[in-house]
């Protein structure tokens, strides 16, 4: 992918899947898409009839599949872009997309270190691309996902993550509302959660943390305190420009 100019390409929406009442997955068809790695993102540009143009970055939700690129968009109330993408954009509509970009927060299927994925809310998106890339490649690298959410109704990819995927362990944490009979009381991520749902530091796992800034800071601090190497902890924060 190196050596090519980054260009805006016309992307046509070909499929929509609802994930939650406020988030949906958009599958775009992008001619001449150069492929991408799990964890990379794209920029989307929208241009109004009067010429006003604005752009946002979104993580790619699935591994490379020819010219198909999947994004999952969470509607940000009062946002400028996400309500349009998550509610109004219809199959057949076109937007401009450039990418893929980002070569650091990525997982490659030839990776052999165990992997810990820590997701806060919609931070699951690039991590799901890694889970899907692992499955697509038939990789036996052990994965653990710790997925923190406000309540069960906010789970993305719920059906897919429920299906057995040998070598992938999934732990849900709820911060506000828990399902009936759930042992862990609602609350934010703790050391105990990452002790139980993660890997011991001496397994030298590759750790990927994605979510809102406060969540990412907490998770990264806990992992450092548990003895994980700072260089093995990769983070991606949702910025204030979301929306």
């Amino acid at each position: 992918m190196n050596g090519r100019r980054l260009v805006w390409r016309i992307a046509r929406l070909v499929e929509i899947r609802d994930e939650t009442p406020s988030a949906r997955t958009l599958v775009f068809q992008i001619p001449d898409w150069p492929g991408h790695l799990a964890g990379q993102h794209v920029d989307i540009r929208l241009t109004a009839e009067d010429g006003y143009s604005t752009q946002r970055s979104y993580s790619i939700a699935a591994p490379a599949d020819g010219e198909r690129v999947e994004l999952t968009i969470q509607r940000v109330p009062d946002g400028e872009v996400s309500p349009y993408l998550s509610e109004e954009l219809a199959v057949g509509d076109e937007v401009e997309i450039r990418g893929p970009v980002g070569g650091w927060f990525v997982w490659r299927p030839d990776g052999t270190a165990p992997v810990l994925l820590v997701a806060g809310g919609s931070g699951i998106v690039p991590l799901m691309a890694m889970i899907r890339a692992r499955r697509q490649a038939g990789s036996r690298t052990p994965f653990r996902l710790v997925y923190s959410l406000r309540e069960p109704g906010e789970r993305y990819y719920a059906g897919e993550l429920r299906r057995p995927d040998p070598g992938l362990d999934v732990t849900y944490l709820y911060t506000r509302v828990v399902p009936d009979g759930w042992a862990r009381p609602p609350g934010r991520l703790t050391v105990a959660d990452l002790n139980t749902g993660g890997w011991p530091a001496d397994f030298t796992p590759a750790c990927y943390v994605c979510g809102p800034t406060g969540f990412v800071e907490t998770a990264a601090d806990i992992l450092l305190a548990m003895g994980h190497d700072a260089r093995a902890i990769k983070t991606e924060r949702f910025g204030p420009t979301g929306g």
């Binding site: 190196n2 100019r5 980054l6 910025g239």
Partner: protein, 104 residues
Amino acid sequence: MTEPAQDSYQDGNALAGPLREIFAVDVTAAGGQCVHCGLTGPVASLRVYGHAPGLVARCPGCDEVVLRLVRGPESAWLDLRGTVSLRIPLPAQGVPDGSEAGPA
């Protein structure tokens, strides 16, 4: 739109698109060193503040400015005065990496 808090920031990952517009390789995976405190780490680990007229990337160790990038209508300004050096991963010299077709 909601006004972001002044202290809110993104990771250096957010620089990937804007820098890929300028460079042929992904610079966020490069290792950089901060002029102010000497900390080394990937550009992706910098703290990026995007509410200035441009992007300001600060060192996660000392919070000083490491990199600034402003995209104008016809040019981009890249200010690297806070960076000692960038170590950019490249394929071994003379070894094709398979990403480009060679001349026939």
